[in-house]
């Protein structure tokens, strides 16, 4: 019985205009999207290879690494181009790029000029937007008249005049509609993946393939949730026009409004200090440390006979007078090195509460957003694609640690430079080379373990599955009492 009913539903959908539209849209949009995004990725990868080469070359050629300490010239640390971003845009629209790491200032993302305003105003659609917006709209179109449409046409009365259990009718409707909707999508996605695979340079590793599979799995659960909602509303209403009105209004709110407004709503409900306020605090901390350092240096100068404009008339290049100058430079460098480390520590202390508050704000955003199935799908997909909050936080933490290492290294080099000057004059001078490291520290991003991805995506996946089951359950309960006349 169930099989026959499913067959009837599938045939009905296959012959309809909406199925043809769904097939065409899935194929055209997914293929165009992945083709374009894959091409963009190849270009990003090419650029990144050049950037990494140039950055490494610059570090290799750095003859005076001590200058990193005094001048604070930033090192551009390239961010890995992520092939998963062919499918998922993520929380940052750019792929690759670099972060400038300096020994004096905070981390700064590098900037890429706008090549075409059209790309900024209309970014290419990714798989998440397609599934979240277009496929969900199609799910509503497939399901809005599942029950009330049949009632209006009078076929529901006819069907229920046979000895068919109502729950079987509804289940058959659900399965028939869902299969005809999801199959074109999965086929188009498969063709899209093939298109990506044949692109040169786009290669996913085993973990990335598994996560792409999980994203597609989530997409099917998401569509199931939206389709169940459509069937539920169709059971709740008596006229297809009312059903479609209610569903499209819900769709506007759940897909176009809630996910976009959730971060801003959480910002209002759980405000965190602004960047300006943070900058003020950091500036105050830095000023205090700098003033203290300056006072110590001045006191040292006074003790050692370095008055105002001491350099005028100083016998430069004459020893042993130069030893005094070297001693001054060593003291200054040492003080600066300590001041820099202290400044970073102070900034970390200032930033720590805000980072905790930001984490709370992000969590609140997620929970507000989770009212919408689209948000659940988007949050889980971006995390699985390594393009979400988890990636951002890990990268930031690792870059901060790298900045501390780099700063310590640069100031050790500065000290080495000063000691080298003295070493040249004194054979018994301690060998400062042994304090030097093998080379300038290099940055390498360490991705999270597979379990971390699953943990962050599990809640959203669970909510989506729960929504699908809940809406279908409600539809079944309502349909049992539905007046088919």
């Amino acid at each position: 019985m169930l099989g026959s009913l499913i067959k009837k539903e599938i045939l009905e959908h296959l012959m309809s205009l909406r199925f043809a539209i769904a097939c065409v849209l899935c194929l055209v949009v997914i293929l165009c999207s992945v083709f374009v995004r894959a091409r963009d990725f190849v270009q990003v990868l090419d650029d990144q290879r050049q950037e990494t080469k140039m950055a490494n070359q610059w570090l290799d050629d750095l003859r005076e690494p001590w200058a990193l300490g005094w001048s604070g010239r930033p090192i551009a640390v390239p961010r890995l181009a992520n092939p998963m971003k062919v499918f998922v845009r993520g929380v940052r629209s750019d792929n690759g790029g670099a972060v400038n790491v300096s020994t004096r200032t905070r981390l700064e993302p590098s900037y890429r000029p706008v090549s075409s305003p059209a790309v900024v105003l209309f970014p290419p659609i990714d798989l998440v937007t397609f599934v979240g917006v277009i496929l969900s709209l199609m799910a509503l179109v497939f399901g809005y008249d599942a029950v009330c449409g049949e009632k209006e046409r009078g076929t529901l009365r006819l069907m229920l005049s046979y000895s068919v259990p109502r729950r079987t009718v509804l289940l058959a409707k659900w399965i028939g509609g869902y299969v005809t909707l999801i199959v074109p999508f999965l086929l188009a996605a498969a063709v899209g993946i093939v298109v990506v695979m044949i692109q040169p340079d786009v290669s996913l590793d085993g973990g990335q393939w598994a996560r792409l599979g999980a994203i597609l799995g989530l997409a099917t659960v998401y569509v199931a949730a939206v389709y169940s909602l459509a069937v539920y509303v169709s059971v709740l209403t008596r006229k297809a026009a009312t059903s479609v009105m209610v569903l499209l209004s819900l769709w506007v709110v759940l897909v176009l409004v809630v996910p976009n407004l959730a971060p801003h709503a959480s910002g209002v409900l759980h405000p965190i200090p602004t960047a300006g306020e943070m900058e003020k605090q950091r500036e105050a901390a830095r000023k205090e440390i700098d003033q203290r350092t300056r006072a110590l240096t001045k006191a040292w100068d006074e003790q050692n006979g370095f008055g105002d404009k001491w350099w005028e008339g100083f016998p430069w290049g004459k020893w042993p007078e130069m030893e005094r100058v070297y001693a001054r430079w060593i003291f200054q460098t040492d003080m600066n090195s300590k001041a820099r480390a202290e400044t970073f520590e102070a900034w970390e202390r200032i930033d720590a509460p805000r980072r905790r508050q930001l984490d709370q704000q992000v969590t609140l955003t997620r929970w507000i957003g989770r009212v919408s199935p689209f948000s659940c799908f988007a949050y889980a997909s971006t995390e699985l694609a390594d393009a979400g909050v988890l990636y951002d936080r890990r990268l930031d933490d690792q870059l901060r640690a790298y900045q501390r290492d780099l700063t310590a290294y640069a100031w050790r080099e500065c000290l080495f430079m000063e000691h080298k000057g003295l070493e040249a004059r004194d054979k018994d001078y301690p060998d400062w080379r042994k304090v030097r490291e093998a080379g300038i520290p290099r940055f390498a991003y360490v991705p999270p373990a597979a379990g971390d991805y699953l943990r962050v995506a599990a809640i959203d996946g669970g909510i989506l599955a729960g929504m699908a089951v809940l809406f279908f359950f409600l539809a079944t309960v309502t349909f049992l009492r539905y007046d088919v006349r």
Binding site: L25, V28, V29, C32, V36, Q43, D47, Q50, E51, R73, V91, R92, G97, L107, P109, Y111, P113, V114, S116, P117, A118, V119, V120, L121, F122, P123, P124, I125, V133, I134, D145, A241, T242, V244, M245, V246, S249, V252, L256, V257, N260, P263, G267, V268, T274, E279, K280, E283, R286, R294, K309, W311, L358, V362, T365, G369, T382, V389, D392, D396
Partner: protein, 458 residues
Amino acid sequence: MFFALMRKEIIAHVLSLRFGVTFALFLLLVFASIYVTTNEYRRDQDEAFAVDRAADADLRKIFTEEEKVEDRFYAVFYHHGRREAVPPPPMSSLVQGLRPAMPAAVQITPGNSRYVGRSIEGNPLAGLLPIPDLVYVVGIVLSLLAILFAFDSICGEKEAGTLRLIMSNAVPRDSILLAKWAAGFLVLLVPFLIAVFGGVVYTWYVGALPTDADTLARLGTLLGFACLYISTFFTLSLAVSAVTHRSSTSLFLCLLIWVVWILVIPNLAPVVAKIIEPGYSPLKIAQEKEAVYREIHLRIQRLTLTTGKVSYGKGIEEEKEKLERERTRRLEQWDRFQSDSIDRQKRLAGIFGRLSPAACWTYAAVAVAGTGAESYQAFENASKQMSDDMRKTAESIRPPPQRDVRDFTLDELPRLKLTSVPFARAAEPAVNDLLILAILNVAFFMTAFVCFLRYDVR
């Protein structure tokens, strides 16, 4: 007769569920959108102040730490430069445009500008989806609501049997259609205008929008465009409902057109443009320019070796100048090649995108609001100007033939002078979009009219 019909339509709309839903959504969305973008604007302003304050503090620190004037000069002009925040354009409190893609600050040294990306300190989930500004809300949400308002205007009445009843009276068909259009559009427009008015008053109240004549003109034009754009979708739905006989078919067709116009064409247009006019990536151009620099530098270095002359003197200086002129010419060629390629790509993307009214609306809105390509160009020009000013200031402090550096103050360093494009010039590119939207409106209404004249009301 016409007014009686219009009254009947207005009453029918006002009493319907869809009016309640639309009214609530319009009020909620438009106001929420303006509230959010206003807060974004204030946050951007706050960040810009913070960047400027930190940059000034950095410079003051150099002035305190560097004891010698020469060291101070090199630290300020060659190591550090002047960092200036890029403030948000005034109308970005309503229309974001290219603002999210603009740099947060620019660091200028003589002859060189380095753009600093935007802070990564905010809520990262805010970047997952576009900021719901007025362009987004009108372009995507309100266009869909306009479709929902009109998709069954004619075929729905036919299905309900009321169209037959109306036509049995001596009512001209054109009056019915016009009354349907005018009443529906009016009912759609009133909640929108109320919501926008409320939002703009709030924006003015918090000081995120100037109250000068220029802003008022921009705001008025923006609202005019929004009405024309909403009318395009409304008239389209009316035409589709006059072509079809079942409201479900009408809805499918309208939604299909909506998806293609809103989500497919505008997003595919830049891609098609990129395929037709691939161009070089900025990095490749930078590499080519770097290669030119390196080549000329080596040739200058070799001059003394190849000519056997000493590294100074008239002959060698002339050769050097010749090589430097060649370098400038070749670098300019690369710049021209890049800008020509970008211009062609922009033009193509604009042409393809304008197949969709959504792209027309977006381009027109960002142009009128002064947050589009013109504002980006104005920023680039300002940073170039500042870089030149830095060079001139550096030369005035340390004139080239001499080696002495005179003492200087912080106030002597030039600042970024961002000028907004005047309204008349900003609105120029929007004229084409205005024409396209007007033509689409007329075409859809004509289609609806012609089809309705031959419509089988039975």
